[in-house]
């Protein structure tokens, strides 16, 4: 009797709705606790990042023009798919980080509920944060939020899933496209999550996920002229400063959400005000008269 050989999954980048390897051909080994080798994953290069920006930019037009209702449904479907394939992510989290299956399940369940929560904001945040303004002249004057465009999102190293979801959902629900730099330490859950996004009716390019060494890419993120905003959840002061210096290049917006590992599991990480980090308020005037 011969034992059966497993067909191992290749962990690739997620760019433009497709799964390419890094154009550099580089890869890194992922290790679990006790330095056990798990799988190899792609080491994204500067060119991969630039390609991701191009894919994100191409996706923004269509995604921002989708109705809020439609975006909400797609985010909800992401939760549906994640629920259905929760066990994959539980396994991925447990073998990468060493947490118990129960803890991993708790994290995946929370990620599902977060997606459901943010799905409900798409068609409401404009009502909460927009306004009709009572100007002292004969004009109709209103303020509405619009997505800023292409946003780079950096979750912390751990927890390995919930921050990624909690940072990315408020960015994309308004119509932005995101490039997520998966944590250096635990990249595999992010890649498996990207496979869930790819089957959720989310248009290609709306979320792009890169794995590798974030430190390499930080100067290129800060310096990129076609990135509209950076959402920094790393909690790393040095990295944060380098990223924030990107504002001096092209006025890209920088928002920081440094929470403790515990706080990512609380309502502190379920904040509609995070939506405002990556929207622009537009005010329009028109005379009233006959």
């Amino acid at each position: 009797m011969s034992t059966r050989l497993d067909v191992k999954k290749t962990y690739k980048l997620y760019i433009g709705g497709k799964f390419p390897r890094s154009e550099s051909g580089r890869y890194l080994p992922a290790h679990g606790p006790g330095n056990v080798h798990l799988d190899n994953y792609c080491w994204a290069s500067r060119k991969d990042f630039r390609d991701a920006v191009v894919a994100a930019r191409a996706a923004v037009d269509g995604w921002s023009k989708a109705t809020a209702y439609n975006r909400g449904q797609i985010l909800y479907r992401t939760a549906e798919i994640l629920q259905n394939r929760a066990s994959e992510l539980v396994t991925e989290l447990a073998r990468s980080t060493g947490v118990s299956a129960a803890k991993a399940k708790r994290e995946v369940t929370l990620a599902i509920d977060r997606l459901v929560h943010f799905a409900g904001w798409t068609d409401k945040y404009a009502q909460v944060f927009g306004s009709v303004n009572p100007v002292a002249s004969s004009h109709f004057d209103f303020t509405t939020p619009e997505p800023t465009g292409v946003v780079v999102v950096l979750p912390p190293d751990e927890p390995a899933l919930v921050p990624l979801v909690s940072l990315t959902a408020p960015v994309i629900l308004s119509g932005n496209a995101a490039i997520v730099l998966a944590p250096d330490k635990f990249p595999l859950p992010a890649v498996t999550f990207s496979e869930i996004l790819a089957t959720s009716d989310l248009p290609g390019g709306v979320v792009n996920i890169l794995t590798g060494k974030r430190g390499d890419l930080v100067p290129h993120i800060a310096g990129h002229m076609d990135v509209n905003a950076i959402v920094d959840g790393t909690g790393d002061a040095q990295l944060g400063t380098k990223l924030q210096e990107g504002t001096a290049i092209n006025l890209k917006r920088y928002a920081k959400h440094a929470l403790t590992a515990v706080d990512w599991f609380t309502v502190k990480a379920e904040d509609p005000y995070w939506i405002l980090d990556t929207v622009e308020m537009k005010t329009a005037w028109h005379p009233i008269g006959v």
Partner: protein
């Protein structure tokens, strides 16, 4: 017996109809002239300025008192309309900035953050009412210090200044309604740097929301326009505003940098050029200071062929020649639909000949002085570049005063998107005129700039207004109007025109912690 009246029709054959139209005399653009004779000679109507005394020397305003600067130095401030010296202004140094921040911090911790919103609001209401009382004086001082026409300072700047304090006074005790689900708190000490184009108005836009939200302020006016902010400081004294809540440190760019770099400032707000804004962003990176920037613009004013043309002309004129074009949101690029281009240019040319340029204190003056010499030189250089690059320069024939900094209202035709005059912010009374054919082209041209502060749309068709407004990447879009401001209406830019909003409920976010 009723007679049937036969309707009488005069049939004009198609051929004759065309011939009739063709025989109308069409005067080429260049030869048309306005002939009003001496009806344009207005008698001078100067605003009374003799009763308003400008002290020969002004000091810093720190901790509720006017104090001399640690540098011991003062610099001259003059009237750009005649280059006459008006007063001497204190040159604030690093030590003075430190003193001011310490005063602001003390006032924040001991008084202002402990005071209820209701009481804070009452101080700000008082300030608004005193401003209204002294509005005429402030308007005259603003005109003399900055070169703006009295018509504008009196009728636009000052009313909105008072309105800003009045509006924000009311928010002071209602902030939890501005941030649903949150308990907002102030940030602490706010460092604010304002420009010379709307000295008092920018001061109001900065100070009012900051103190309404419970912060204290260290504010620096532009070197060339310090007088009205210092007069406002006297109004703060008159209103019994607690010492240290607002501190004014006058000086140069270096004084501003000292404020930005000070470690005990929690928030920086800056209005000025994109170039300096980027430098400030660099200085603030990694410091944890909150930052809002309100920077330059190169707004497109789009006129469609179904626009109300005469109103559009007034809107174009107001858009670029208001405040001599020293406006970040000025409609400095005119995008006019090809089919109406000859009409629009003809009307513009006639209209700019009617604009009166001269003594800013004269109530008939439409266009005042350029605020300072370097800016005048920049304007001249950019218009020259336009001519060098092949555009046609149109200026009225008018006699400019001998002393002072003056530039006539100007527009250039034959401008293309690659010309410097189409890309760089002139910050003067200069309009670049370009054409387009389709709405898609108009939007593409309008958005083809790193700036994104404002835009204008002129069309009578409602659905077109909404579509174009949606597609323009600009923080403020005026449809069938231009250059309108209100404290309830948030103002700010997209892209390299800055981030953060001033005014309205959205403008409060910059001055609160929402945790």
């Amino acid at each position: 017996m009723k007679t049937k009246h036969k309707a009488v029709f005069r049939r004009v054959s198609a051929k004759r109809a065309v011939a009739k139209v063709a025989s109308l005399p069409i005067v080429p653009l260049k030869e048309r002239r306005l002939t009003f004779g001496n009806r344009w000679d207005y008698v001078p109507a100067p605003e009374d300025s003799k009763n308003y005394v400008i002290a020969p020397r002004h000091e810093l305003f720190i901790n509720g008192r006017f104090v001399p600067p640690s540098t011991g130095k003062h610099f001259d401030s003059s009237n750009p309309a005649n280059e006459e010296k008006l007063t001497e202004i204190a040159l604030g140094g690093e030590q003075d900035v430190d003193r001011a921040v310490k005063a602001a911090r003390r006032a924040y911790e001991r008084v202002w953050s402990k005071m209820s919103g209701r009481e804070r609001g009452k101080y700000i209401y008082r300030i608004a009412r005193i401003i209204q009382e002294k509005a005429r004086e402030l308007a005259v001082l603003e005109t003399m210090d900055g070169g703006k026409p009295i018509k504008e300072t009196r009728d636009v700047d000052l009313p909105i200044v008072a309105a800003h304090f009045f509006y924000h006074a009311g928010w002071a005790d209602k902030l939890r309604y501005a941030f649903p689900g949150r308990n907002p708190r102030p940030l602490g000490v706010a460092g604010q740097i304002i420009p010379w184009n709307f000295p008092l108005l920018m001061a109001a836009w900065k100070i009012a929301p900051a103190i309404a939200c419970g912060n204290t302020v260290v504010i620096k006016p532009s070197k060339t326009t310090s007088i009205t902010l210092l007069r406002l400081a006297q109004i703060f004294q008159e209103a019994d505003l607690p010492a240290g809540v607002v501190n004014v440190v006058t000086g140069t760019g270096e004084t501003g940098t000292a404020i930005v770099k000070h470690p005990d400032v929690n928030k920086i707000a800056f209005t000025g050029s994109t170039e300096i804004g980027k430098q400030l962003a660099q200085l603030c990176a990694g410091t944890g200071k909150r930052l809002t920037l309100e920077l330059g613009g190169k707004a497109a004013n789009i006129v469609f062929d179904d626009a109300p043309i005469d109103q559009a002309i007034e809107g174009i004129i107001a858009g670029i020649y208001f405040n001599m074009g020293h406006v970040c949101c000025a409609g400095s690029r005119l995008l006019v639909q090809e089919s109406i281009f000859p009409t629009v240019v003809r009307k513009l040319r006639d209209r700019i000949q009617t604009l009166r340029i001269g003594n800013p204190l004269d109530k008939n003056t439409d266009i005042g002085a350029i605020n300072n010499k370097p800016q005048l030189e920049k304007i001249r250089a950019l218009v020259q570049s336009g001519a060098d690059e092949g555009a046609e320069v149109v200026q009225p024939v008018c006699k400019l005063p001998e002393r002072g900094y003056w530039y006539p209202p100007t527009f250039l035709t034959g401008v293309t998107a690659s010309h410097r005059i189409a890309q760089e912010e002139v910050f003067g009374p200069v309009l670049a005129v370009m054409t387009f054919r389709t709405p898609e082209e108009a939007v593409e041209r309008a958005n083809n700039t790193p700036y994104g502060l404002s835009a204008g749309v002129w069309t009578d068709k409602g659905s077109k207004i909404f579509k174009i407004v949606n597609q323009l990447r600009a923080g403020v879009v005026w449809a069938n109007t231009y250059n309108k401001f209100d404290p309830t209406s948030p103002f700010g830019g997209y892209k390299e025109s800055g981030f953060g909003r001033e005014g309205g409920v959205q403008g409060l976010a910059a001055y609160c912690r929402q945790d």
